[in-house]
């Protein structure tokens, strides 16, 4: 009698030691797979961008076909890891807010001025639904244009920022 399939086998993990990640001459991401084939440009996709940003990274080729899955970028060789991390940072731009200067507006339609780790920014929200409060004080914000921001733990912000944020969530 045949055994049911092992669903774990369905995921094609790339062997982190036999995978090579580079940048080509146009600074595009290039991957050399364990089978020796070279692909560029390669697009990394996070399977869990919010909860496990550094695990289960799918690599897609230019035709959007899956080349394989990287289980954890920690397992990669150091040079490969830093290139992939850099590319991921570029593909997923979600600055972390460190301070909220001002929130103006009513009924959730608000204009924000905030400080992030990559500079100060101002953005607009169209409704309270654009703010998602998660467990542990984590807050995700999506602005009117589709930009995203993150607050790692809003309880750790300064009291003024907390007060401003709490009027909105």
């Amino acid at each position: 009698m045949e055994q049911p399939i092992q669903i774990e086998d369905e995921v094609q993990f790339l062997d982190p030691q036999r995978l090579k990640i580079n940048r080509n001459q146009f600074a595009e991401l290039e991957a050399e797979l364990p089978d020796g084939s070279v692909h560029a440009p390669v697009e990394p996709i996070r399977a869990f961008p919010l909860t496990q940003p550094n695990q289960y990274i799918t690599l897609l080729d230019a035709q959007k076909n899956e080349l394989g899955v990287i289980e954890d970028i920690k397992l990669l060789k150091k040079a490969d890891r830093s290139i992939l991390a850099e590319e991921l940072k570029k593909c997923y731009f979600m600055p972390k807010i460190t301070k909220i200067h001002n929130v103006a507006g009513q009924f959730g339609v608000t204009e924000w001025e905030a400080e992030t780790e990559v500079g100060s920014v101002s953005f607009d929200l169209r409704s309270r639904n654009d703010i998602t409060a998660l467990d542990g004080g984590r807050v995700l914000i999506r602005d009117i244009d589709g930009n995203r921001y993150e607050i790692v733990n809003y309880h750790r912000l300064d009291p003024k920022s907390v007060a401003l944020l709490e009027t909105q969530i």
Binding site: N24, Q25, F26, A27, E28, P49, K89, K90, C91, Y92, F93, M94, G105, Q106, F107, G108, V109, T110, E111, T116, V118, G119, S120, V121, S122, F123, D124, L125, R126, S127, N129, D143, I144, D145, G146, N147, R148, E166, T167
Partner: protein, 788 residues
């Protein structure tokens, strides 16, 4: 080609004027692709540009390559593209790319940011990084740069690989055009730019037709408020003129004035009279104002629904049903409260305060000032407390909403919950949520239980002040006992109107928001409407011609990309393609649920936009994949498209649709109620009822959108048979994934990403061996497997 741009000489001038320009709130959002270049870049430009080279495109970014916020630049002249990237160094990195080496401009869309890339023969370079805010600007700049490229390229350019970018003028605006502020998700109007006063004035217009009732009601109220103040004055004269003299007479050993009893009876009767008066007229006024309020609701509700019914589908697509329903139910109700009650309350309360102040100041202005002393304190406290309360209640409201969410997902999904034995998980989740509600309620209670004593205490301060100051005045002979009693009574009466007026602002704002939401419906023009000079087309032949039709739902992706073909009267066209290929969109344009963004659709040689909507849709029949049955009987549903259809016609249509047999088996046959609260009707039965509906309408053009995809094989053959009868002598557009459904088709149109991939008869396309032949082969294999 428009001629715009500026030469090197203009740069200095422009930079200067840019500096002195009065800044709007966010000048960087302005959609210009020729921004003023800052002075810092100019010296470098001097060296880079040749004599008469003009800058045609100049756009700034808001992100740097290193992922920090900052401003980099992309410039294009008629010779080259320049990218300035400030990479932490004092002078920026400059990419200087000659236009003739560029093939096209590409946009790489990522999460939270985009890159603009330049594709040359060797590869693609990144030239700019920007946040999503600048998406429209770069989308506009890209084709402009490509136009510049085409002009310098010696050979003909292959533009086929370039995406056809199309900016839809009807695209839903996210920011106000005049002030740059965000527009709420639920609205199309900028709340900041709507003048609140105008809104309220417009609201009042709805009350004007009823002025014959509302003005007398207002006058009655003013009189009531005045009469209301009379009993304390009566008490005062009772005390001062009768009781105190009598007491003094008795303590002095003299006899009481014999007329005193008569006066006492008189005053008591007047008190009773005043109360009876206010009670009777309050009731009369209440009835009058309820009538006015309900009349306003009636008008507003009907106006809103009538207008909603003529609005086009895109209006509905951008808003969810609950949101639209609440405008007609809740918002209209809120407006009624405001027009009928709110405004009159404000007037009445203000007047009552004014009356009381006048009386008190006339009697004793010093004591009146003391009475007013705690009022600002009370107002401030109400404000502060209102704010706190609002916050607590908002949190509580969210937690209650959480309970609803859990219930709304578990009750319909109970089969899944049970099948995966997750009952405990759901119960735990629910308990957690109810516990949070409990905590929220207790937090609110903490505030509430504090509020009442503090408020009482503040009022008490006022009372004590009156006792102290007034008592002192009595001792000095400046005040009488009756007067101090009057002040006491007015002090307590002062509070209610003060509190009402303190909340006026919030009430006003809430009404203004509701008004906006209702007026948004009333003010939105239908995007698809009959023209004033629209023609009637009573006897349509059913010829449909598509001429280079473009359509996009969201301006980001074209659903139709230049469709051209002609359908002859009586011809059946099968539409084939993957989901998202544009089949349904094509049909939506034939029925004019939407109008094309570009190109035209001709029906019998007339542009469909010139034909009266009623005339056009009156001759189009639709059978959808999941047909909708209205609340009502089976007969009502079949006759929906032909008001006044005879019973015989309805039965005939049902017979033709193979529906008669199962309908007569329903408990009440044709009178059986279906819809939300009616009997359960299976998918195949619903389908046949909707076919009967279409047959009865006898349309010239028939649309079958996946009419047989959700039923079993046996039912399908019955539906096929019914459809076979229905399509006779009509122009038919049929969509089906199951290609066997399309066997009656005269021609097949294969769509692929909004374009026509193949067109021809079944035999032609099979012979061609293209996409259709491929699909057919796959489906044949599939049916073999099924058979096996």
């Amino acid at each position: 080609m428009r001629s715009r741009g500026f030469s090197r000489r203009d740069i200095h001038r422009m930079a200067r004027s840019a500096g002195s320009r009065t800044t709007t709130r966010r000048p960087d959002v302005e959609m210009t692709t020729l921004e003023a270049v800052p002075e810092t870049l100019q010296n470098q430009l001097e060296d880079l540009l040749e004599g008469e080279e003009e800058i045609k495109v100049a756009i700034s970014t808001d992100l740097r390559f290193d992922g920090t916020y900052g401003k980099d630049w992309v410039l294009a002249t008629d010779k080259r593209l320049l990218a300035f990237n400030q990479n932490g160094a004092p002078t920026p990195d400059i990419q200087n790319i000659a236009l003739e080496t560029i093939d096209r401009i590409e946009i790489r869309e990522l999460h939270g940011n985009n890159f603009m890339k330049v594709r040359t023969a060797e590869g693609a370079f990144e030239v700019a990084r920007y946040s999503k805010r600048f998406v429209p600007k770069f989308a506009e700049a890209a084709p402009e740069i490509e136009l510049l490229i085409d002009k310098v390229k010696p050979e003909e350019v292959d533009t086929s690989k370039r995406p056809r970018r199309y900016v839809d003028p009807r695209r839903k605006k996210v920011r106000c055009e005049s002030c740059g502020r965000p527009i709420p998700r639920w609205s199309d109007v900028c709340p900041n730019c709507v003048e609140k006063g105008k809104l309220i004035f417009r609201l009042l217009k709805y009350a004007i037709p009823f002025w014959k009732v509302s003005v007398p009601a207002l006058l009655i109220m003013l009189v009531i408020r005045l009469v209301d103040l009379y009993p304390p004055i009566l008490s005062k004269s009772l005390i001062d003129d009768i009781l105190v003299p009598a007491t003094m007479a008795i303590t002095g050993g003299q006899s009481v004035d014999p007329g005193a009893f008569g006066q006492l009876v008189m005053i008591v009767l007047m008190m009773v009279g005043a109360h009876v008066f206010t009670a009777v007229f309050s009731a009369v006024r209440g009835y009058m104002m309820t009538w006015v309020g309900q009349r306003i609701t009636l008008t507003l509700r009907n106006d809103a629904f009538r207008h909603m019914s003529i609005l086009s589908l895109d209006f509905y697509q951008q808003r969810d049903t609950g949101n639209l329903m609440s405008r007609i139910t809740q918002d209209v109700g809120r407006l009624r409260d405001f027009i009928a009650e709110g405004l009159q309350d404000i007037i009445g309360d203000s007047m009552a305060l004014v009356y009381m102040c006048i009386i008190m100041f006339v009697i004793n202005w010093q004591l009146a000032l003391w009475v007013l002393l705690p009022i600002p304190l009370i107002i401030l406290f109400s404000f502060y407390f209102g704010h706190k309360m609002h916050k607590v209640f908002h949190i509580l409201w969210k937690r209650y909403a959480g309970i609803s969410t859990i219930l709304a997902s578990t009750i319909p999904g109970i089969r899944v919950v049970k099948a995966f034995t997750r009952e405990k998980y759901e119960v735990d989740r629910f308990q957690e949520q109810t516990h949070m509600v409990f905590e929220g309620e207790m937090n609110a209670a903490k505030l509430w239980t504090l509020y009442q004593p503090i408020m009482t205490f503040m009022t008490y301060i006022g009372t004590v002040l009156i006792w102290f100051v007034g008592g002192n005045q009595i001792l000095n002979g400046d005040l009488t006992l009756g007067e101090i009693t009057l002040f006491m009574t007015y002090m307590t009466r002062f509070l209610q109107p003060v509190r009402t007026l303190a909340q006026m602002n919030r009430r006003f704002l809430r009404a203004a928001t509701s008004a906006e939401r209702v007026f948004e419906v009333l003010d939105t023009p239908p995007s698809v409407a009959s023209r004033g000079d629209a023609i009637e087309l009573p006897n349509m032949r059913g010829q449909v011609e598509f001429r280079d039709v473009f359509f996009s739902y969201d301006s980001e992706k074209n659903a139709l990309n230049g469709i051209s073909f002609t359908v002859n009267p009586g011809e059946m066209i099968g539409l084939v393609g993957h989901s998202g290929a544009g089949k349904s969109t094509l049909i939506n344009l034939v029925t004019r649920f939407y109008d094309p963004n570009d190109g035209e659709i001709l029906i019998d040689g007339h542009d469909s936009r010139d034909i009266a909507l009623s005339s056009l849709r009156g001759q189009i029949g639709v059978v959808l994949q999941d047909p909708f049955l209205f609340e009502g009987s089976v007969a009502d549903n079949i006759g929906y498209g032909k008001p006044g259809a005879t019973r015989q016609e309805i039965i005939a249509a049902a017979k033709a649709a193979n529906a008669h047999d199962f309908i007569v088996k329903f408990p009440d046959a044709y009178d059986t109620m279906v819809g939300e609260r009616g009997v359960r009707v299976s998918g195949g039965e619903r389908q046949r009822i909707s076919i009967a509906r279409a047959i009865l309408k006898n349309p010239r053009i028939l649309i079958l959108d996946e009419a047989t995809s959700s039923v079993d094989t046996e039912t399908e053959s019955r539906i096929q048979e019914a459809l076979g009868r229905l399509i006779q002598g009509r122009t038919v557009f049929a969509i089906a994934h199951r290609l066997s459904t399309l066997k009656h088709s005269n021609r097949l149109v294969v769509l692929k990403e909004g374009e026509i991939d193949e067109i021809g008869t079944h035999e032609e396309l099979i012979a061609k061996g293209g996409t259709y032949a491929n699909l057919c082969e796959k489906q044949t294999e599939l049916s073999k497997i099924r058979a096996w």
